[in-house]
Assembly symmetry: C2
Homo-oligomer: 451 residues x 2
């Protein structure tokens, strides 16, 4: 059926007929948000207690604090410290509802979304669905390696690593032991650099304690970067310092190299080098992800959705995109804004501020991105910071990194847990319990090094 | 090949030839322990720094503190607070090795165990493999319900519960919503009673906050017990008080009832009653589990291994059983000792004390069990205690329960985490983050209530 989707509140009868997912009746316009990442949650915060019904859909029941995934992967933090349940977040927001469902399709012509739990009508739709790992079509690499775009990825990396270290204690084959204890990280952006630093510290401080049977040289960490510098979006000073820090930690950095194949044991690079490693972590690319139903002609590079400067998806008048999937293409930003947390938060807040005005047909100013600077850390007590003109590195940058991240985590309890773990770890280098609970099984069997 | 398995140290060459799992060469007799529960770990502690090579095998890399599984299931604690990695436990024990492998078979004739990672020779073998849930052959019940004998079971219960509560927010079908929010716990022993109490408190204090959309009466908790009292191994006072506490929390206790069938939605009892519930937790029975290869004639009731009063398995002179699987059958204990943590710890310690004497052919005293009393808690601030002649209930019993459990948990960090969580929860009734990370899928589809 077709409902009149003007900018005024629709009648309730329409909602009740079209919805298969149970939602309370209201006379308010319904804003459906898909995805509770940085962008989606910032939008929810701006729309709480406003004259709209907000329905947040997510395939998880929790928000994820992605910047600290690498610490979960290396057992420095437990997952529950860096993810936060939506129901706690929206506690007391009477106009906000959460529904755990995966949105499979958008039907713009009927203003309906179809989820794995049924369909729901919307007046305004906001896509905040983020990105997923991009393996650029290399199926061999994808099936044997792990990305780092979901808390489950982090847990899988942790389990891969711990299982392989245990298997190394069991095998009598030197070559297999090498493969099990070598790590290759692909991508020299913040995720790859931070992961390499954390792994190197694990190797230096935890390995000798937990596995006294191994020589300290057993674990090798390789970082592969396609161009000739690390953290290419940051300053030259940051890149140079980062390289120095990683080399101090014995990370082997390969520049101007990329992975062309991987069979679960041998990494092959474009230039023909081979590295024996059963642990491959892929941080070399992302692509936008969103449900089907959006006209393909509005999809641009990196699988992002082209929006105008009010974050409205091209070709629609009630569908918006925010965060990593939004490509706000203007003369000043021909490639859109950087796909970072800051952009997502600013876009979520912006849309939250203007949406009611749009509903009321009032005039609004276009979105403007404010670069608040970048931070990246390389192991403990060392980080790089670019804050406008101020570019610095070392202990103070690390302290700043720690404070900024601690304050950004959702929930007082989580901040306390992360702070506590960091404090213990600062003085002792001791980490959390390193448990293998997930039974992670890579597609490559762990016994296939031997011919 | 056949090696001389006298009570003296064997020559190393034999070990090297027979082992497929890499282990360091020593001239010490090798004691292989299968299972690092309460019994196995108590034994390891007694054998550390002694003149034996100890090799601990476990299918997990961590010890589990089973008495608090129900708190993980109800999101009161995170799993990493109550499990502890073996490699941390044995840190600095030069004669103790841990190997992550599942033992599949014992070959007593060649003194070899066969694991999923290869075989290993032993001079002395200790089975400390514990019990698993016993569904007494009811396949329907087994395939739709969850036991509570592994930390993964606890996490599965948590995820079942949270997923079903989320699904209840989505469905428009009242009957399905009832099924999704009703809980049946089978078995009125400590595990069932503590689980029922914790669930009831979740319902009372967490549900209204997280799901303000639901009426408070939506969640019903049933506890089914086959005889006419709860905690039947404890005193009458404990049973009576426990029943009162559960009733105060609105738990519906069904005595003299047992489950005869379950299809994932409807629980059928032997007397013909039916309860609509998509959440069934089974704590009504356990059976011993151990690798194949032990002569069946030494297996007694409950799938336990019959041992003499020195814990040596009948029919062997170098194979021992400790903990839940050991049935020390004597005139005083015709059914063996109770399958509780205290027995396991005492047997592990006892065997650790006598094993070197047995190796040296010295005389030893038989095992004697000392009953240190029982404690069980029903929700916050209420517990029952039987300590010899002293039988009491209420706040002081709960305080004692808390202290005893806190001090029994392995690892300073774990004690700190549990203590912190309990303190927060004591004052706020707030619990941890209630995350659905595992994607638990029961065999019964969550949409099969409707015809």
């Amino acid at each position: 059926m077709n409902v009149n989707h003007s900018n005024t509140a629709i009648t309730e009868s329409a909602c009740k007929i079209t919805d298969e997912i149970c939602l309370p009746d209201t006379n308010l316009p319904r804003v459906v948000i898909i995805g509770g990442g940085f962008a989606g949650l910032a939008l929810v915060e701006k729309l709480k207690h406003k004259e709209v019904q907000v329905v947040l859909f997510d395939k998880n029941n929790f928000h994820q604090f992605q910047p600290l995934f690498y610490q979960v992967a290396t057992s420095a933090l437990e997952p529950d410290s860096i993810v936060f349940p939506f129901r706690k977040q929206i506690n007391g927001y009477k106009n906000v509802l959460f529904r755990l469902a995966e949105v499979e399709e958008i039907q713009p012509s009927t203003n309906t979304i179809i989820t794995n739990k049924g369909s729901v009508h919307f007046d305004y739709l906001v896509l905040a669905t983020g990105t997923t790992t991009n393996f650029f079509g290399m199926d061999n690499v994808e099936s044997h390696s792990l990305g780092m775009k979901d808390i489950r990825d982090s847990l899988n990396i942790r389990h891969m690593m711990l299982q392989n270290l245990e298997q190394a204690a069991i095998t009598c084959d030197d070559k297999e032991r090498d493969a099990l204890t070598n790590f290759v990280i692909v991508g020299g952006g913040p995720a790859g650099v931070e992961m390499a630093g954390a792994l190197a510290e694990f190797c230096k401080y935890i390995l000798p304690k937990d596995y006294p049977e191994y020589p300290s040289s057993i674990m090798n960490i390789y970082l592969i970067e396609a161009i000739d510098e690390l953290l290419s979006t940051m300053s030259e000073k940051a890149s140079t310092k980062t390289l120095k820090y990683l080399k101090d930690l014995d990370v082997k950095v390969l520049f101007n190299e990329s992975v062309s194949d991987y069979d679960g044991s041998i990494v092959t690079t474009k230039s023909g080098k081979t590295i024996l490693a059963k642990n491959l972590i892929w941080t070399a690319g992302v692509k936008g992800q969103f449900p089907k139903g959006i006209d393909e002609k509005h999809v641009v590079r990196g699988n992002r959705l082209k929006t105008d400067s009010f974050l409205m998806v091209e070709g629609y008048d009630n569908i918006f995109a925010i965060g990593d999937i939004a490509a706000v293409i203007t003369e000043e930003t021909p490639k859109g804004h950087p796909q970072v947390a800051q952009t997502a938060i600013q876009q979520g807040k912006y849309l939250g501020n203007i949406l009611l005005k749009i509903i009321k047909n009032e005039g609004v100013n276009p979105f403007e991105y404010k670069d608040k600077g970048s931070l990246a850390t390389v192991g403990k007590r060392r980080a790089v910071a670019d804050l406008g003109k101020f570019k610095f590195a070392g202990y103070f940058a690390w302290l700043l990194w720690s404070i900024v991240h601690l304050l950004s985590i959702s929930g007082f309890r989580n901040r306390l847990m992360v702070g506590f773990n960091w404090a213990v770890s600062y003085f002792t280098y001791e980490k959390s319990n390193r448990l293998i609970i997930r039974n992670f099984k890579p597609k490559s069997s762990i016994n296939n090094t031997k011919k």
